[in-house]
Amino acid sequence: MRDRLRDQGGFAMMAVVMGIGALIFIVVVIFQGAVREYHGSQYQRRDDTIIAGAEAMLERYAAKLTIDPRYYQNFVDEAELPRHCTDPASAHYGLTVQPGNAWYTECHAWDYPVSGDYFDHPLLEGRSDIAADDIGTLLTVTPPVGGDAGVALTIVSAEQDFGQLRAVEAVISPESISEFEFLVDEDLRFGSGADIDGKIYVGGDLDFDPTPVQGVVHRNIYAEHAIGRRSGYGPPLFADGARAYDGVGDYLDIRSVYPDPLDFGNFWDDLDLIRQVACGGGGLCLSRSANPSLGLTQTPTAWKLEPAVSGSQSRVRVLVSYSNTTTSCLTAEEWWWLNSHRASWTPLGTYDVPANGVIWVDGHTVISQPGLGAAIGRPTTIYAGSVGSPKNIIIASDITYHDGTSGTTVLGLIASDEVWVNPHSVGNDGVLNINAAILAQNGSFQVARDCGTSGSSVLPYSGGVPTSILNTNGSMAIRHTGDVAAHFGTRNYGFDDRLESLRPPLFPLMGDTWKYGNWVETNLPCWAQRAGCG
């Protein structure tokens, strides 16, 4: 050592040692930067993956709701925390159901008092040899409350090896065609002074008579062709920030909102689902062939439904008729439009409106009779006919909601063919009130004339002008426009704005999937925090 120190080669050695030290320092600095960058990118990658996992589980739940709109009421999802019934009216009050099992369908309130294990969906597993890549999820479900049809979900997604968690809240709700005040497959024209509160969609032209009072719209309007171009007509005034979308370029591009025109043909699948649920899923199935337990020995030519509320129970009295009358100007089908009130009816029975609110009738369906009225006590949809055998709905009385229009009761009236108003339904007061979301899948909403679709009307006129009043409160989806103006001097088309978020049971949807609302990434809920919330 002493010799080496004395040797001049020691300088070189020191220089080499210093050089190596400098190199090591530089390498360490660069390596630290690279490691930091790597960890940053890995953290980001996991963060992105975790949020994607939460989104995937949201999509999965939405898909389940599309198939079974009451999925949340029927099942505790595999990724859900153990669900505890807190509904005092339920026979299962205080009981808990583990994830992946059937729920107590009559229990409408619940909470999640105990924690659970994260659910590892197979599609959210990472590489088989890296457990840390697996995404686990846990969720809680809040059923629709008040006037909202949406199911609220809170989903926590985690890569537990790294302790990274993210939480997403969203409301999944159906985008029903009942959200439109008017959904018409062809041209639609409004008279002077129309004041429209709901959205309008027309498959052709949309026009408003500007004389003497220009119409007003309070919600967006959509026309596949033009708005206000027809001679003698014009556009409406736009209130509350309402905007117009058309297909000819005068306004915003309708394709920016609806990539494809709405097609009534797309509703048939949803309508068939109503039939299936009514006859095989706990609904009320009014069909001789599909429901032998009704005890019918021959097939009725028409059915009459008299909805009423007894105490707190919503019921429907069902009658059948075997009349098959024709006249010189009425076919057997047309006869019902005018004469449902004086047909011979045989009582079949009185039934509770089912919990799912779905009623299917396989024949022409008359809603009550003049003077009796129809009181709806819970969310209900009545569907008449099918794609292979289209049938009409005949409105023969006022239709009202037992709890008014501030509750959650809404009615869907769906005719696979057309919706007709029996002119005798307008009583001595000269007023007809209809509260419902209406869909005439094959035709229009019309008032019957003396000879079905021709001749005069039995409704009163004064000096050639009709004097009766029609009040509708709901929504109207019709393939063709009718001639209601020829029969009612005053037509007050009101929009039940609850329908913007409240859907009659299984009413057809705009598309295949449910939509999200209030999608927001949020703080971890207490049950997902290791230390809780104190």
């Binding site: 210093m18 050089g19 400098a22 990539p259």
Partner: protein, 217 residues
Amino acid sequence: MIRRIARALRDDRGFSLVELSVALMLSSMVVGTFVTMFFSFSQNAADVTGRADSQEQAREVLVEMVVEIRQAVAPGPNSDPIATMTADGITFYTTEIGSAAPVKVAYQRTACDHGECELHRQRYASNGITQGTYTFSGTPFEQSLLLTGVLADVPLFSGGRWSGNPKTLSTVTSCNGTSVSCAFPLVSITLRSYPANTSEGARTPFEMQEQVRLRNA
């Protein structure tokens, strides 16, 4: 051992001037080379670190932007979540945790000089509801300079929607909600920026891209 040390101490022979000069010259060259290498490596390390820091900062901005746009909400029943969009800016309404009312957020690429710009964000609080639609203050409650050195050579924002049959993705370059609809479900963000705190030679731009699906649109 003691004798050896004593002999070494007695040996007073030194280096000659020539030897010393050559040794100094050689060692100076060696030290100079290493010093140069050290500073070069240090600069490279600083450049790498500066670039990484800039990318991390840009990524944080991008992540925040993505979260805000992803959960954008319409302020009223007749509105869209996005109010306006150009290649340089986007204004939209988004949810804020703990608040029922949305906030209006505007990102703007501005103050450009020789192709390099600043990215600013302004946030406006809601000041009420008129006919079912939230209204917003004209004065931002927060103004932030998020990034500098942002390049203006590519659109920072663009929109996308699917249309036709079969569906194809078409690009929306700008919208104002009045003559051009802002109803689209996708927003693309392309952020090109020079890194800050790097040497001139290492100043090459980096690029980050995100495509955001508006969940509430």
